[in-house]
């Protein structure tokens, strides 16, 4: 027999660590989504700079990304227990702390989003364009200079990758949590983020709520966030390309998920036990059902059927991909907190 008793009963620590509740999975999901949207926006800006593209709706993804990153930051702020001291993060840079890297990356992401959002902002939000003609002039100035567009595209892609990878590295450096001890987590969250971004941009591109763009302040702002910029319905080739991209990143996500589990299953006893939590243990049903099934296999299959014209295009695969992306963070954050090194192995 092996029996352990402890007199410790600290809140949120015992019997199982649960210091991070809904706020961190929400933040990690929105952060990954925004990271993916930056990558997509950067990729599309490169096409615009080469004069190759007319379907402009991914160019306005920075506007939606701005709203989403604010929601994510709000969730992150709500998680803090010493909120009035949050400004301390920006008084220092701690090179060994992923959270410190992330704080500064997020600040720079805001700057990249702000510059990117200027492009065609006067067209997508006419009220603002009329009030501040300088925005239109800046937008036209950027669009007339392919070199500047390429530079902004590079910043979008670079900071998108940095943001996406950081959300995974944040967890993987916690040595005490065997489930998170893998460098693959950063790439997994990036792939999942880009996949979710393809789905989100596809969803936004399918909206026809405010056509043509309203001239008011509030309705104009809302319209600029949720519908394509073009006066006409966006070309179908754009949404089909997004579905194809989504399939590629879903496949990459699936492969990385498999590699993560293989890595854990071939490591120490604590890591094997952590992997089993997902494969056959407490979290098996949510993991197989929501992450693998609802989040990857079902939408991938539906998208393949759509592309072969066996079934009509719908928003269902995109919604499933977003749900799966959130479930991945939710399950990994919660199962990861419950995973720990065995106290027994310490004294064998």
């Amino acid at each position: 027999m092996f029996e352990t008793t402890t007199t410790r009963h600290n809140a949120l620590i015992d019997p199982v660590l649960r210091v991070w509740s809904w706020e961190i999975p929400v933040y990690l999901f929105l952060g990954g989504l925004v990271a993916g949207m930056l990558v997509l926006a950067g990729w599309h800006l490169l096409q615009v700079a080469r004069g190759k593209s007319d379907d402009v709706y991914p160019v306005q993804t920075p506007l939606a990304a701005f709203v989403l990153i604010n929601l994510g930051m709000l969730a992150l702020f709500l998680d803090l227990t010493h909120k009035l001291y949050v400004w301390r993060v920006f008084l220092t840079f701690q090179p060994t702390s992923p959270m410190s890297w992330g704080s500064w990356i997020l600040l720079l992401v805001y700057a990249v989003i702000a510059v990117s959002a200027l492009i065609r902002l006067d067209e997508s939000w006419p009220w603002l364009g009329h009030r501040f003609p300088v925005i239109g002039r800046m937008s036209r100035s950027l669009l007339a200079r392919p070199a500047w567009l390429r530079a902004i595209a590079g910043l979008n892609i670079g900071f998108g990758i940095a943001l996406g990878v950081y959300t995974g590295v944040l967890l993987s450096t916690m040595v005490a949590r065997p489930l998170w001890n893998s460098a693959i987590l950063g790439l997994l969250f990036l792939a999942s983020g880009v996949s979710a971004a393809c789905a989100a941009v596809h969803l936004l591109g399918s909206q026809r709520l405010f056509r043509p763009a309203p001239g008011g302040m509030i309705d104009g702002a809302l319209a600029s966030l949720v519908q394509p910029l073009t006066r006409e319905i966006p070309p179908r080739s754009g949404s089909i390309a997004l579905v194809r991209y989504d399939q590629i990143f879903l496949a990459v996500e699936f492969a990385l998920l498999a590699l993560l589990l293989i890595g854990l299953l071939t490591a120490t006893a604590a890591h094997i036990e952590a992997a089993r939590m997902l494969l056959t243990g407490t979290w098996a049903w949510p993991f197989w059902g929501l992450v693998v099934g609802v989040g990857i296999v079902v939408p991938f299959t539906l998208q393949a059927l759509e592309l072969k014209h066996r079934i009509p295009h719908t928003v269902i695969p995109a919604l499933l991909v977003l749900a799966g992306g959130f479930a991945l963070r939710w399950i990994l954050v919660n199962a990861g907190q419950a995973s720990e090194f065995f106290s027994a192995t310490a004294r064998l």
Binding site: T7, H82, Y85, S103, M174, V175, R177, T268, F341, A346
Partner: protein, 179 residues
């Protein structure tokens, strides 16, 4: 520079919890929380059973993951004794340090910042032992400079079998248990 550590003789510890009460009193630890605690482990097959009683706390690791993950520098290694401390005025309550600690040694203080054992930093600066060590009725706990070959802790580690908690985590703990 000194490198403080603690050596606890599990053959003398009776689990009386005097160390826990002394810590609560000395450091004004809020009710319901603990900076140190007692773990009792029983292993074997009846009647061949072995029991180990340990007074546990922050291990003030030589490779502290709580310090490397802190985004503000609130968790830091003190120049006095190289003990791991938290500066409440820098702590934002992100709880990354709690998640990264394999020992569950940290908790969120009701005032919002993260709290933990300090090896009674305020006492050791005056040359006193930590409160837990000073009250132990069986004298099972020793405190001192691990880098000083003449210190009591160094002598015990030289002459007695000992172990640390979760060495596989790679944190290099500085609380040692004699067996």
């Amino acid at each position: 520079m000194a490198r403080y550590g603690m050596v606890i003789d599990t053959r003398q510890c009776v689990g009386c919890m005097d160390c826990v009460v002394a810590c609560q009193t000395e450091n004004d630890v809020p009710v319901g929380y603990a900076r140190d605690w007692i773990v009792t482990e029983v292993r074997g097959t009846f009647p061949d059973l072995a029991m180990e009683i340990r007074s546990e706390r922050c291990n003030h690791c030589d490779n502290p993951p709580c310090v490397s993950c802190c985004p503000t520098g609130a968790s830091h290694v003190s120049p006095v004794g190289q003990v791991v401390l938290v500066d409440p005025a820098k702590c934002i309550g992100c709880k990354a340090c709690i998640a990264s600690c394999p020992y569950g040694a940290r908790f969120v203080h009701p005032d919002g910042y993260v709290d933990k054992c300090t090896f009674c930093d305020h006492r050791t600066r005056e040359g006193k032992d930590p409160a837990c060590v000073s009250v132990c009725p069986t004298h099972c706990m020793s405190f001192g400079d691990l880098d000083d070959p003449a210190s009591r802790v160094s002598e015990l580690l030289r002459t007695r079998r000992h172990h640390t908690l979760l060495p596989e985590a790679g944190t290099r703990p500085r609380v040692f248990y004699l067996t």
